[in-house]
């Protein structure tokens, strides 16, 4: 994870000063403005207040809410860049934007791996209801105060949380992939399976 540039940059970009202003208003701990995407990090206790403040400040369009599982061990896919130094956690992200101009930001809060609990945003944005249900079933995060936190996509009796990094992908267990036929292999490298096929 990149550190906040706010302390190091002398002349912040327009996006950077927008992020700094927003972070000041919502009580953000730090912010980033890389790749044209503003992240403002807030404490989980201030989650609902921060989102409410951002909404009243003009970011009144609720775009999406989701999470990231930062884990040292990943069952499928590639591990995080930090390797063993990674701080294991869940990040919950909520993207808000303006309906007047291009202003937008992602509010981020960090949750404990053992007890991922967060206050629900449904009283602030009605549209958060479905997003939180999806986030709850996929990551096992409990949204306190959600009116109906049942599974959204998955069958109600489904066990496990598919988007957690500890959740294996069935088809990959049966058949490892990409296997020897790798579509991104350079043409010069020998590929025994491709040879057989042709």
């Amino acid at each position: 994870m990149t550190d906040s540039p706010s302390e190091t940059t002398d002349t912040p970009s327009p996006l950077g000063s927008f992020a700094a202003d927003l972070a000041g208003d919502v009580g953000g701990e730090r912010w980033t403005a890389d790749n044209g995407t503003v992240h403002v990090y807030v404490a989980p206790e201030q989650w609902v207040d921060a989102v409410t403040t951002a909404r009243d400040r003009g970011l009144n369009f609720f775009s999406w809410l989701s999470a990231i599982d930062w884990s040292k061990h990943v069952e499928v896919g590639e591990p995080a860049a930090d390797g063993d130094d990674l701080e294991e956690r869940y990040e919950v992200l909520c993207r808000l934007s303006s309906l007047e101009d291009a202003a937008a930001a992602i509010l981020v809060t960090t949750l404990d791996k053992e007890q991922p609990v967060l206050d629900s945003l449904v009283p602030v944005f009605g549209g958060a209801a479905w997003h939180e249900r999806e986030c709850a079933e996929m990551f096992g995060i409990d949204f306190r105060g959600h009116p109906n936190l049942i599974k959204l996509y998955l069958p109600q009796e489904f066990e496990g949380h598919p988007l957690r990094k500890s959740f294996a992908l069935g088809s990959r267990e049966v058949k490892p992939w990409p296997g020897t036929v790798d579509v991104e292999e350079l043409p010069s490298t020998t590929n025994p399976e491709a040879g057989e096929a042709s």
Partner: protein
């Protein structure tokens, strides 16, 4: 029983047990297989007579787990996954993801590639809205407009096919540009030959036909008293609800929100062209229909300007053959025909992303249904649902 169905629906319909409800409440199941649901969507409606007292959409029948699958696919392979999210506008799904990867890599597609992306996105928008213009009147009982709209859509699909080789799932974008034209390959030297012969003339002809069918649809549908009676004032969504539920695209613009990502985001060079943001103010089903017809006209306008100002450049920027994307995260959103389509990509330096969050328009667009359906008549529910122009692949992802 309650364990099987946590909403308690089984209790109500099965046992007839006393539940605190006014009058004779009845549970009506619409779908999962129902013509008005555009795929497999189940609506559990609690009805009081002809009026809906409560509506519970049950989604997930088409959940394909694309976010998990994206964690085991290389960046180049993910385009094949994501253009199947909203299969009516496959090409438009690809662009925000590819631009997101390009931003993380710090490359930019050459101007000509960007123009081709833009033209194909607008052709996709026309095609998507023509599907809507054909299916929506059908839901209101008018079968004829379908023939008119789909007839012209074929010309648009032929154009997309002539460039990309695919009608629905082009898989045409590459990180750093677009695919070389069919048959062109490495031997192709003249960049002007990247589009198929007769493409410009074909576009002119197709745009004329599309404009003409919009006029025909005005006569057949917009001015039709029966359609108006079914759609005007039905399923009103306020601008506040639209914002709070994340309604975007034509659905938000029908509620008076003058917001179009084509004017605010620079992932495609829309700034080079003159066009108006189609907006209507009543927020009802009729306005949601009309906004889309207005948008078709604006899109033909954009496409006409674009083919007359095509820049010359290669089709691809220099990009390593094996893509390793440096650590970082980016959110890129584009104006999909159905609304805000965006991808939040978390890269960790490898060949596959660590996490991809897919923000699809239809998911948020229909999440408002439980709120606006209350108090509606059942036939009005069909009129409202249809006017939201959703596709189940875009809802379930």
């Amino acid at each position: 029983m309650t364990q099987l169905d946590p909403r308690g629906i089984v209790e109500i319909s099965d046992g007839g047990v006393s539940v605190e409800l006014k009058g004779e409440a009845m549970t009506l199941n619409i779908g999962p297989q129902h013509p008005s649901t555009h795929g497999v969507l189940r609506l559990v409606a609690e009805v009081d007579g002809e009026r809906i007292a409560r509506l519970d959409p049950t989604i997930g029948y088409m959940h394909r787990g694309k976010e998990k699958l994206a964690e085991v696919r290389t960046y180049a392979q993910i385009t094949a996954l994501i253009n199947r999210i909203d299969w009516v506008s496959g090409f438009a799904n690809e662009v925000p993801f590819i631009v997101g990867v390009e931003r993380l890599l710090g490359v930019e597609a050459p101007p000509r590639a960007q123009y081709i992306r833009l033209i194909l996105t607008e052709l996709t928008r026309i095609s998507n809205h023509l599907v809507f213009a054909s299916s929506y009147p059908l839901e209101l009982g008018a079968a004829t407009p379908l023939m008119y709209a789909l007839r012209e859509r074929e010309f648009v699909l032929d154009l997309i096919e002539s460039v990309t080789g695919g009608r629905f799932h082009p898989n045409f974008n590459r990180v750093g540009g677009v695919k070389p034209a069919a048959g062109g390959g490495k031997t192709q030297k003249k960049v002007e030959l990247d589009l198929p012969a007769g493409f410009y003339a074909g576009v002119e002809k197709a745009m004329d036909r599309v404009d003409a069918v919009c006029d025909e649809l005005d006569d057949l549908v917009s001015g039709n008293e029966m359609i108006q009676a079914r759609a005007i004032g039905v399923g009103v969504i306020t601008a506040e609800d639209a914002a709070a539920y994340g309604l975007s695209g034509p659905n938000a613009r029908a509620s008076g929100i003058t917001f179009d990502l084509r004017k605010h985001e620079d992932l495609l060079p829309y700034g080079d062209f003159e066009f108006d943001v189609a907006v209507r103010h009543n927020g009802d089903s009729f306005d949601r229909y009309m906004v889309r017809i207005d948008e078709i006209r604006q899109s033909t306008r954009i496409v006409r300007q674009a083919i007359h100002s095509m820049p010359s450049s290669p089709l691809q920027a220099k990009v390593p053959r094996v893509l390793k994307v440096p650590p970082g995260s980016v959110y890129v959103r584009g104006e999909n025909p159905k609304g805000e389509m965006g991808y939040y990509i978390v890269a960790q330096g490898g060949r596959v992303p660590y996490r991809v969050k897919i923000r699809s328009a239809s998911f948020s667009n229909i999440s408002v249904m439980p709120k606006i359906a209350v108090g509606q008549l059942i036939p009005d529910l069909v009129a409202t649902m249809g006017s939201l122009d959703f596709v189940l692949g875009d809802v379930d992802r």
